[in-house]
Amino acid sequence: MICLFGQNHRTAPVEIREKIAITPEKRDALAEMLVDCSDIQESVVLSTCNRMEVYAVSEEPGQGRQCIDTMLARLHGVDANSWEKTIYFREEDDAVRHLFRVASGLDSMVLGEGQILAQVRDAQAWAKDQQMAQDVLHRAFGDALACGKRVRTDTQISEGSVSVASAAVSLARKIFDDLADQSVLMIGAGDTGARTARHLQMFGVRDLRVCNRTRSRAETLATELNASVVPWDQLDDHLSEVGIVVTAVASNDPVLTRERVETALETAQRRTLFVIDLAVPRNVHADVSKIPGLFVYDVDDLQRLVLDDEESRRAEAIKAEEIVDDQVRRFVHWYRARAAVPTLNDLRSQLEEVRRAEVEAIRNKLGDEADLELVERATRRLLNKVLHSPTLELKRRVLEDDPDQQLREFRSLFGLEPRERK
């Protein structure tokens, strides 16, 4: 039985999550415990900053759960009660669905984010190396990855911005080809500006200049961001040199007026300028956006873009859930059909025994080897034909509800011994 023992950003605050997070040092120890546990046949550990999940195959899921609980308590030296309420436990289809949704980014804090796919892949590879995962979980994780990829190619769940800073960056990337070639002038040294500047740096910006009325604050931030400082009175000179301006100054009057920008741009090499105004009240006068070649976005504009994107991502999530349904159905198909295999093997060997005994019984009455061969072939064919429809029927029935019940009934019908649990 496939089961899942987990905790994520929805069920537990970070203070509790960090208690049972699996650091690389603890990972080996946990792997050893999992391999040693007799109630667990297969396992994979998926641990990221937003979730800690153990997927396992266990004949006795109740005991498997207990086992994982004590393992984690021992590993972290904490009482298991302290996190009990934040744990979710799922079995069979529900566990599989959870995994597929996780890989698809549907369970992530930021809907559709792509990092989780790589983390799922790492978890799978590591569990395989450690020989923790065999065919069931290896296949489940492989299918989950395929599902995650399909969601990302067939839907637009990963598209769009998630914050004002990322909306600003994606706009900048629609104006300029390569942000590495762009200089950024930051007017004001507050947190909001810094966040956007950091985002721009993440996407390639190398030349960042900070300009602030109080020079010391500009210097502090500049050191932090690895930027240069521009004196307040030289703002206009730098305005003509950069491609992107970020303003976030607490001021009642606009810092940038149309005249000021136009004068500054007269000496510029090119006329494209992207102005990101993060301040309220705004630092950039409304007239500035009328200058041809300029793109001026204020906080409200950016916020609106984020909301629009969020809405479209939600709509895409519905399509993604459909894909997950489909992939889960395929996996469960394989998984349950697999459950029928031992029973079918038992039935075949039982009938094979009967067949052999019967052939043996008439052996002396047969003439030469050719006769024997004929009888062998005929009885074998008979066996195959008799087995054909029950095999199909059982494979069909295990896909219905309660496959265990179906298997039990099938066994009793053909007089097979109840199968012992490993």
Binding site: T153, D154, K174, I175, Q269, R271, S289, P292, G293, L305
Partner: protein
């Protein structure tokens, strides 16, 4: 109608129409799979088009471009091939709907005119092949340039209007579009210059004059001047970006105009065995 007459005209037009539909669908939904399907359809269309032109040339014994219809068909094909090259290199499909609308338009015009049935002695001249090829490459360069300019203007408007929609997700950056436009029109300009020089050599051999103020020649000269001006304007700071895109489109309209005018109004030496000859 024979296959060689159908494929490079209405046949290819229909296939480009189908590709346009697929690209438009992709543009709307954005799924990678839909984009891939559209690309495959366009590759198939281009290959069928190419094969059709080859069949036409072989079955008739003299190859395209003979006549305005065939020239337009060839311009369309080379435009699509240039586009496909850009798509494969940059992995960007956003330009396709723009390019295909234009190409489908050109192809309808080409199909209405149809293939030429006879060949004038002029076209057997040694310089004709290079002259026609250069002009066709120039036209393709200008066509791609125009497509890029339209995309630039559309994206510029959306960004300025603070209402970035689908266009913004699907198209390359403004700066990228601008750089590609520059490259495409520069290439077009170089080939047009070459085509004009070769054409006047050809004219000299055929008619004894280098330049005869034939309407087509005049229009081509006008095109050359307009693109030349656009390229010079680019160097000035206040003529960059959206303005140069507009100038580009004005210049391109002279390309379209010369094609339309020649085939509709004038009976000129450049009608290549069309209706007038």
């Amino acid at each position: 109608m024979e296959i060689g007459q159908l494929l490079p005209f209405w046949g290819a037009t229909a296939l480009y129409g189908v590709s346009l539909g697929l690209y438009a669908h992709w543009f709307r939904v954005g799924a990678i799979e839909a984009g891939r399907r559209a690309s495959i359809a366009l590759w198939v269309a281009a290959l069928v088009h190419l094969a059709g032109l080859a069949v036409l040339g072989l079955s008739r014994g003299f190859g395209p471009p003979t006549g305005v219809g065939e020239s337009l068909s060839l311009v369309s094909l080379s435009t699509i091939l240039i586009y496909l090259y850009l798509e494969a290199r940059g992995n960007e499909r956003g330009l396709a709907p723009f390019a295909l609308v234009l190409v489908v338009g050109l192809m309808i015009k080409a199909s209405l005119i149809g293939p030429a049935h006879q060949v004038e002695p002029l076209l057997r001249e040694y310089f004709f092949g290079p002259h026609a090829s250069a002009i066709i490459l120039a036209m393709s360069g200008f066509t791609i340039g125009a497509v890029l300019s339209v995309a630039y203007l559309a994206q510029y408007r959306q960004l300025r209007g603070k209402n970035p929609g689908l266009l913004l997700r699907r198209l390359p950056s403004l700066q990228g579009l601008d750089a590609m436009t520059r490259r495409a029109t520069r290439l077009g300009f170089i080939f047009l210059t070459l085509g004009l020089v070769l054409g006047s050599v050809l004219a000299h051999r055929a008619w004894g004059e280098y330049w005869s103020w034939d309407p087509k020649q005049c229009m081509t000269l006008l095109t050359w001047l307009l693109y030349g001006t656009a390229m010079l304007l680019r160097r000035r700071r206040d003529w960059q970006g959206e303005r140069v895109a507009v100038v580009n489109l004005v210049a391109f309209s002279s390309v379209l105009l010369s094609v339309a005018m020649i085939s509709w109004l004038f009976d000129s030496a450049h009608q290549f065995g069309g209706i007038g000859s």
